[in-house]
């Protein structure tokens, strides 16, 4: 009886093994996978002390530079850019009112967009601006066509006054946080 029990038991289980199956699988679902990471990076930082601003003279340009910037117009990036924001922060501890402008230039050097900031002398708070690109914001084409920046800093005050701050300076920070479609 015991022998019969084991024979039946094992025979049943082996039949089970032989009749193994699997639920329906749909491997084409992988095509629906969406991979959209948010990438963050610092872009540009400009810092100038008050002495340099003074040396440019009253209402003078203390910085003007065109900087190559191909981060967004690389084909791989441009094709995958979905939306995002560029954040600007300006701190000014000098005694000068100042103006900083950033021109977005295409490959031929033609301006396609301009961002301008005017900051008062020694403001109590950090000036912040967030510019959205993509749905609900500016066109992404501005970024994907940008090949360089022209950054200009202008003194809107006199050329002699000095802030009482121990290290008077003006600084522009910028960073980007963008969503890309990798898949």
């Amino acid at each position: 009886m015991k022998k019969l029990f084991f024979q039946v038991l094992f025979a049943s289980i082996f039949i089970l093994m032989l009749s193994s199956c699997t639920e329906e699988q749909d491997f084409s679902q992988i095509d629906d996978l969406s991979v959209t990471p948010t990438l963050a990076s610092g872009i540009f930082y400009l810092e100038s002390d008050e002495e340099t601003i003074n040396s440019a003279g009253g209402f003078g340009t203390f910085y003007a530079q065109t900087v190559n910037f191909d981060a967004f117009n690389e084909a791989y990036v441009a094709e995958r850019l979905l939306e995002g924001v560029i954040i600007y922060e300006i701190e000014n501890t000098t005694s000068k009112r100042a103006d900083i402008s950033i021109d977005f230039l295409d490959e031929s050097g033609t301006p396609i967009y301009q961002e301008t900031f005017t900051v008062e002398a020694n403001p109590t708070e950090t000036f912040t601006r967030e510019v959205t690109y993509g749905p609900g914001g500016l066109s992404l084409s501005i970024l994907t066509n940008t090949s360089s920046f022209r950054v200009t800093g202008r003194n809107l005050g006199d050329a002699t006054s000095t802030s009482t701050h121990p290290e008077p300076k003006i600084s522009l920070s910028s960073a980007a946080e963008f969503i890309f479609r990798l898949k």
Partner: protein, 485 residues
């Protein structure tokens, strides 16, 4: 990118659905000659055995400690990205792995020494493929979520990348010796002929984006990563050239590597069986203590260095005279220079995945004369000291394997039943990191001199094999003689 991701995912799940290493069903299954490959010191009774070429031992095993094929690809109407997020990214850790092993016996022969009947010699050749990849959690999160948003300040561990794989052909020769009525020992020498090998197992470093000292964000990367490959590029180049003789060239290269034409290595197995009393025995073995010196077709890829960036920075008055327009390109070049990715062809040593088994076994239920009664060799037969004399065996087994991130262990309880002289059945219950419900079944059939065995693991998962965390199947045919035939 789409094709690349698809290839990676299909490869990971495809590999794990085909093949991985615990062979608890075969271990100490004395009636099957291939059990000698797991314990060279196993008790042997046969006079000689010859495995049917290519069919004497086929073994396929797959394991995944995390997500299963069914978790992702079941036709359940759930959005695939949601499944990946909830079933992979949210729950899998860097300890989870996908593993696979397959083994095919080319030939396997054993015979008892004429002048030394206490010795049983065995030799043969088998091919083995073993691949393991740990889940690269932080790298996956970086790819899916990025370094922005909530991940500002998070450190992504580049050391999460850990994988190893190889295909090797093994020539072996073993001696099994009955030292006394209570002790049998054995050892096996192995010559490894590598077909290909790759490993990326000693990676370290991190990538994180934090608040910058000057600019808003500072991205910091420290990397010490390496992928070592041997024998891979040769195959890749043939496929890449696509000359019209691709299949012939691949076969030719494969055959050359199988027959000692690639990187070579040495190793050994050792084991014992000790009879504590007529019904109780303990066994132990250690397998694949060896190495391969990878010197053939070696291509290693390195990524090493450290840097941080806050983007383009201009400080006045220091940079007032710098009228260079290529500040962005300079920045990219600086980062590239700080993080050199190189190639070299330096040979390297890869260690085989060492495995160890141990067991305790209690035999009971005297069944009369043994199936090996006609042996004529007076080895492991007669009296109550022969476990074959008993119809039942019960016991426990411990298995351990050295993996890139430490030792993996499995604990098995087993019951073996012998039904007459022709049929022997074994069932196991195994607990390991892959499954708590692994019940295995094995059958050994002896029809005259013809021996057939089939062993299947985790049979409860057979209802939906795609949902299994662990599956293995092994079977084979042998010709066995216990007498002078």
């Amino acid at each position: 990118m789409r094709g690349f991701l698809k290839t990676i995912l299909i490869a990971v799940f495809g590999i794990s659905s085909i093949h991985a290493q615990n062979r608890q069903l075969l271990y100490d299954f004395n009636e099957i000659p291939q059990a000698l490959m797991l314990n060279p010191g196993m008790k042997t009774s046969q006079r000689w055995h010859v495995g049917v070429p290519v069919l004497s031992g086929l073994f396929f095993q797959a394991s995944t400690s995390g997500v299963t094929v069914n978790d992702l690809f079941a036709n359940d109407g759930v959005d695939f990205t949601t499944k990946v997020q909830e079933r992979v990214l949210d729950v899998m850790t860097r300890r989870d792995d996908f593993g696979s092993t397959s083994q095919i016996d080319g030939f396997n022969i054993g015979f008892r020494g004429k002048n030394r009947p206490d010795d049983y010699y065995s030799f043969g050749m088998y091919g083995e493929m073993d691949i393991i990849s740990y889940w690269p959690k932080d790298l996956a999160l970086l790819a899916f979520e990025g370094n922005g948003g909530n991940n500002i300040g998070r450190s992504f561990d580049l050391g999460d990348l850990s994988l190893r794989g190889e295909m090797v052909n093994v020539f072996h020769f073993g001696i099994n010796r009955k030292v006394s009525n209570t002790l049998t020992i054995g050892a096996r020498a192995k010559l490894y002929s590598s077909i290909f090998q790759f490993q990326s197992i000693k990676n370290s470093g991190s990538f994180r984006t934090v608040e910058g000292q000057n600019n808003m964000y500072n991205s910091i990367i420290v990397a010490d990563m390496q992928l070592q490959t041997s024998g891979v590029k040769g195959f890749y180049d043939i496929i890449d050239a696509d000359t019209g003789t691709t299949r012939k060239d691949l076969t030719s290269l494969f055959t050359e590597r199988v027959l000692l034409g690639g990187s070579l290595g040495l190793g050994f197995d050792a084991g014992f069986t000790h009879q504590l009393n007529p019904q109780t025995s303990i066994t132990g073995s250690i397998l694949d203590v060896g190495f391969i010196y990878n010197s053939n077709d070696v291509w290693n890829y390195t990524f090493e260095g450290a840097t941080s960036t806050e983007g383009i920075t201009v400080f006045l008055p220091e940079d007032i005279d710098n009228v260079n327009n290529d500040l962005w390109q300079d920045l990219v070049d600086e980062i590239d220079e700080a993080l050199p990715h190189g190639e070299n062809q330096s040979g390297y040593i890869s260690l085989r995945p060492v495995k160890a088994y141990g067991s305790i076994r209690y035999d009971f239920g005297e069944g009369g004369r043994s199936w090996s009664e006609n042996c004529g060799c007076a080895i492991n037969t007669g009296g109550g000291s022969n476990s074959d004399f008993y119809r039942n065996s019960v016991g426990g087994q411990l298995y351990m394997i050295k993996r890139p991130r430490g030792i993996q262990a499995a604990l098995t309880g087993f019951y073996q039943k012998r039904l007459g002289r022709t049929l022997s059945l074994k069932t196991t219950y195994t607990v390991d990191k892959y499954s708590f419900t692994n019940i295995g079944l094995g059958l050994n059939l002896q029809a005259g001199p013809v021996n057939f065995y089939v062993l299947g693991d985790n049979v409860l998962s057979y209802g939906n094999i795609a949902d299994s965390h662990y599956a293995s199947l092994q079977f084979g045919f042998n010709i066995i003689s216990w007498n002078n035939n």
